[in-house]
Every structure is written in structure tokens, then in C-alpha cells.
Amino acid sequence: MVSIKFLASILTYSIGLCGLLPLFPWLTSAPRLALLLGLAVGLWQDFKGNWPFKTWMQNGAIVPVFLYYAIQFSRANPVQPVVSILAIMLAVRLAGEKTVRHSLQIQALSLFCLASSSLFDLSPIFLLYLGLMLFLVAIALVLLTFQDQENSMLLPKRDLRKVLIAGGLMPLLSLPLLLFFFPILPRTQMPLWNFLSSPTVRTSGYSDKVEPGVQPNAGESRALAFRAEMGRQTPQRLYWRGSVFNTMQGNRWVRADGVPPEVPVFSGPKVDQLIYPELSVSRVMIGLDRPTEISLNRLKRSPDGVFEYSGSLNKHLNYRASSAPDGLVAVKGAINKPFYTKLPVDISPRITGLAAEIVKAVNTDREKIDLLENYFRNGGYRYSMTGLPTGPDALEQFLFIRKQGHCEFFASAFAVLLRSAGVPCRLVGGFKGGNYSELGGYYLVSDDMAHVWVEAYIEGNGWQRIDPSSFAANAGEVWNDKKSRSLILRMKLTLDYLNYEWNRSVIVYDFEQQFEYARKAGKRLQGINPANILRNIFPYVLAIALLIALLFVVRRTSLFNRREERILKRFLRKVEKEHGISVERGELGLFEIAERADNQRVSEFSGIYAGALYRDRRLTDDEYRRLQQILREGF
């Protein structure tokens, strides 16, 4: 025999853990300590079967804690007090006796804790915890219903198994309903508790300025920046355009407000992408270089191909982008050459001297670019994230002394040399590369792929993408395509695919998408052809029918009653009809029926049937035939 209360307690603790674990890392020390203490005290008391920590003490203990956190609550700090009080309330309930009422409260608090953990991080792990919790809650609710009827109820193991199976089946049965209702139930345009959430945003990745020489080592975060759903592209095309830095101030490149007007002319095939950026503080929307169109409301488009979003950054976005990926964009009319060749007055004469030296023999922009490229390729420059030049003369150090740096040094130095040589140019910040997930059909781009390159204007051609980092002596090692095929990376991509599906189908599934799907479904229904459908599903129907027929033939005996049972049923029906003797199964023996019926044929049937039944053997064929004959002829 197993105690229902004991089992319900175990489940209650498990549910508590499901709510606590995801929230625990985000809590401050006090609630963390309370939780550990509450768990320990609860377990100890349950183990002893004695609960000195009474309910009134628990409730009394919560009041001052509640007041303390209520005072701390403010618009600037709304989340932490709320989750702290939730966690402490859960800790207090876990510490006490697990009555039915308290167990239900623990379940509710655990669910709130789990839900509040999503204010900090909404990853697929949340779904895992939620699924597990709902499963456990379903079983626990069933057991608590039993406990509620009788606190000390004991059940035999065999019965308990049935109870648990039935309890576990309920959430499984509700899954299809959940999948059915999730897409069609009305959704709000904004998440309901958005007011509480201060989004956890990335601050790494590319920034709003390029400033080589600030730090000796560059940090590399592998956090996800965005995903781009699209076909596979050649590595040369994988430049993701973010911002453009058009002005040099001192040692840094910034984006000046007055971007000179120009009219780009895009030719060649376009590449469409569906971009899912992670939450970020940046308002710049990324697209494959160079984006010709990004479909998103509240978007400001600049002539230099930068798209800035002016809406709320609190929610996950997704948008479509169309790009001309060839790295060359023609311009209709002229550009503002003085703007794009302007350098700070205090630029090092050594750098301008170098530029003049390199390009002295040529006149055209194209030739100047080629010579500068040659200079970089043959200059022994190395791509490195450590040992970087620092200080106000970092660029000079990079060009003449250290000769190692990351993309900002390469791009910045190349642009300065170009402008010194009179070639209009600008810096483009974004990302380079991406890991393609074959499973999901998208590129995964992380913060460590942040990159800066140069766009130079060639008269007659337009803006040409130049990546000076690729001129580094060790560029082949840095952007080695082969490393991307490692097993770990493939595993990472598979995991990311799950994350991506979660993001795409749950997180960003809002009212707009719902409306869009409904519209598409309506369109498809209009164009539906019944004949086509029939033709398509006919093979499946046929296959299922064949399978059922096969099952029918193979398992006939086990699927249907044995002939002994069938003939007995017929007999009982006939006896009821002709003699008015109604027999519930097992209530009346065969001989008793015969006695009541007082009929010779009924007696004969009973004799033959009982002869087999009570000797524990099956009817012989002769006996069976005789019984059938009796039934046919009637009594």
C-alpha cells in the first residue's frame, strides 16, 4: 500500500523545483537563501512527520517581507521586488506542512515563479520546465483530490498505477488541443506584462562608432545577434550591413547626421531574407549588404543604405529584407565627394605621406585602390584580437610599427589612406559570415562576427565594397570556411534550430502574424480544388484501409470474442427473449437458467456448454455445431 499524501508531497516538491530552478539565477541573495532554507526545513519536517512551524507562523513571517519589498517597488525597479516576494512566499509554503490547500498554493506560486523567470530570459528551456511542471501538476492535482477525500488514504500499488496513468494521460491528451488552440486563440498585440519587463539586451556586437586603439584586447562574445532565413550564399556575399560611419573625428569614426543625398541604382538578382534579430539596444536593422528594402513599420531609411527603427525595442521583431549582394552599387548622379574625402585636420602627416607615396604614380580611383590593396597585402599586416595598438596614435602604430589589429584597424587605416589619396569612402559596420543551419534554412550570426569594412566610391562604377581585413597575411586562417564544419558547430546549429523554431513560432507569434496566417489560409481555401485533394489523399486512405484489413485478419481472435463467448451471448439473448429470464453476466449459472426455463433444449445447451466450461476446455467442433443448431431452431 502506498500513501497518497506521501506521493503528493514528493510531487509538490518537484513542482516547486520546476518553478525555482529557472528563476534562481536571477534572484538576489536574500530570496535565494530563503528558498534553500525553506526547502531544507520543509524536507526535515516532512521526514520527521512533525510540523512545529505552524501556518500562522508562516503567514506572520511573510507580512514584514511583503512590506519590505512593497516599499522597494518602483517603476524603475519593478521586477526584482515582485520575483523576490514570489520566491519567498514559495519558500515559506515549502517549509510548512503540505496540506491540500498548501500544496495547491505551492503549485500556483511555482507557476508564477516560472512565469516570472520569463521576464529575464525566454528560452526554449522555459518550455521544457513549463511542460514538465504542467505534467507534474496534472498528476499532483489528481492525487490531491484523493487526499482531499481522505487525508490518510492508502492505495494498493496496482490501483495507484492506474491513478497515475490516468493523471499522466490528461496533459498528454490536452497537447493536441493546445497545439490547435495556440495559433487560433485571439492574441494581444503587445505582451500583457510588457510593462514589467526591462529587456535583457545585448550590449556587445558592433557599436555606433568605430574607435580603434581604445583597448589592448578585443572581447569576443558568442551571443546570438540575429538569424536570417534565406538560401545558402557564397562566403564572399556574407556581409551584413548595419550602420555606416561617414565622418572621422580625431581617432574615431562616427555617423554624422547630415548624410548627403544620393540615389542608388540596384541591378542584378536580389536575395530575400527573413531576419529575426535578438533584443538589442541598437536601432539599426541588419540586412545582407546591401539591403534595398526592409519591410518594417516605423523605419527610417538613409541614402547610404542604413535602416533605423523608431519603434519599441522591448519586443522581438522579425522583418523581411531584400538585398543586392554583389558588393557594388551604382549611383545615379553624383555624390558629395568633399564629404566623403574629409579628414580631421590633425591627421598624422606620416599617414597622409604614406598615402601620397603609394598612389603617386596613378590617377584614377580604381588604380589608387589597387595600389593601396597591394600595399596592405604585401605589408605583412596580421589580423589579431590581442596586442592591439592603443592611444591617440593607434592608427599610426598599426600602419608603421605593430602591423597587427582587428577589422577596425584595417578598415579605419584603409579608409584614412583612401581619403588621403582623394578617393571618397566610408566605413560600414555590420557582421561578416554566418553559420548556415541546413535544418532550419537560415544563417546564424553571433556577436563575434561583428565586422567593419570599407565602401569606396569609384567614379563611373559606384560604391565598391572592400574588406581590408581580408588583405591580412593570416586572413585565410581567420576566416577559414573549413572550421565551420566541426561536430561541435553542427551540434550547436541543431540546438540553435530548436531555439529558432521556438522564437519564430512562439515568441514572435503575435496578432499581426495570426492575422497574416488567417489571410493566407483564406486565400488557399479559395483556390482549393476538391478533386486534387482527393487525388492526393487517396493513397493514404488506401494504405490505412489495407493496414486495418491486415490487422483484422492477423489479430482476429484477439480483437474479437472467442466463439464460446459469442455463442453464450446469443444463448443468453435468446433465453431472455423466449423465457423472459434476464441474466446479468455472472449472476446466474447455466444450470440455474436451465432450471428456471424448464425447457429441454435449454437444458441440453447448458449441459453441453457447461461440460466444456467446467472442464476448462474449449468446445469441440461437433459441440459447437450442435449448440448452433439448438440456437437456430429455438427453444
Partner: protein
Amino acid sequence: MSVTGMAGMSNIKGLVPSLIPPEEIFAGTAAPFRLCVRNGKRYLPSFLIRVECQNSPGSTFPLIRQQTLSESSVMLTFDRRGQIPAVKVTVSSTYPVGFFTRYWTFEVDTLLTVFPAPLAASYPAGGVNAPRTGSNYRRERGLDGELERIDLYSGSEPLRMIHWKLSARSADFLVKGFGSQSATPLTINVADLPGRGVEERLSRAAWLVRRWVRERPVGLVLGERIITAGCGRIHGRMLLAELALYGLD
């Protein structure tokens, strides 16, 4: 919600309660009934079934497997004598999650006869062996009854009464003492019984029937109806049923 609703519905579906009464039920006295619930469902068991009849505290069945019968006992009390054609039985369950209680009410056919509540009585005109209050010894002796005791020979007993086998082993003669097989019939005239009103007199008659029917023939005079004296439990129940239904038609 829909899944738990369906589970709750199917849980109490196919349950058929039945009541098996005890042989004798007296008004105002709790009688033990066998309460059976049959789960007629083919595949699904029923969980946490609570069955309540009338004003009884009811009983709970944690699990009733499919196609089986579960039994329990309940004490039922009926206030008045007479025939009870059916008893109201409520089958309920809070399964699966205890937020709602679903129930069905059945009228279980019982055709019970509730006898009048017995009320102790002495019968004034009972013949030679009329019951008296006080001593409760049985006095009648005879020669045609069962061997009831061995006594010392007093000199007055017939010789054939001497138990020779036992006497041979002892110093005295021992005689067999037989009981009397023929007891005086007792005819209870309800109208003659003391009591305030018919109900009380019926109750006293019921007590007398219960008291004597196993020991001597008991008959009944109920108004104009006369039931000849008879012995045994079955006759006793017949008399009690007459008392139960008297004046209710």
C-alpha cells in the same frame, strides 16, 4: 479544462448503484445495507466514487475497475413504518482535479418493508406460560422435547427417564430432563395492547412478535384480520410486514 471535464464526465458514466437490504428493518433503527456499485464501462475504471443514500454518511470507492462490482456497507435509518419503493442514491465524484463535483442521482428500486419500531411490552392474557417480567427462566418441562439437562433422580420420574449409562458411572441415579415441544400459541390482539394510539400499539405488537415467534406459535389479530399462529422467522417476518402495512393502503 476540456480534458478534465471529459475525464470527469466519463468517470461517473456507466456506474450503476444497487442496495441489498438486511432481512429486517425497523423504523427508527439504523439497518446495515450492502451498497454495490457496478462499473459497466468496457475499458475505463472509475476513480474516487462517492455514493450517498438518503441521509447516510455515504462511502467512497477509490477505484472501481471496469466491468466489476465494488461493495461497501451503509447504515440507513427510516423514520416510519411502511413500504419504501425506492431509495435515492447519489453517485458523485470530484475526480479528476477536485474543482467541481459531478453527480448523478438514482432511484434504486428496493421495495423495502420497514417494520414498526419495536417497543417492549408484556402481554397480559397469555395463558399458562404468559411472559412475566422479572425471572426469565424457562419453566416448561415435558417428555416429547429435546434433551435439555441431566438431573438427580427425585423418585418421582418415570423409570424410562433414568440415564443408565451416566448413572453407571456415578453413585446416584441420573435422569434425563426433556423440554416440552408443545408450547401454548400466543395470539396478539393489537387492539388489546397498551399504548397511546395505533402506532404505539403496533410497535408493541412488533416487539412481541420478535420476542416470541422463535419459541412459540404467534398469531395476530389486526382489526378484523386474523392471522393464525405460526412459528419461525419467516412467519415472524410475515407478521411484522402485516404490522408494517397496517392502515397504510
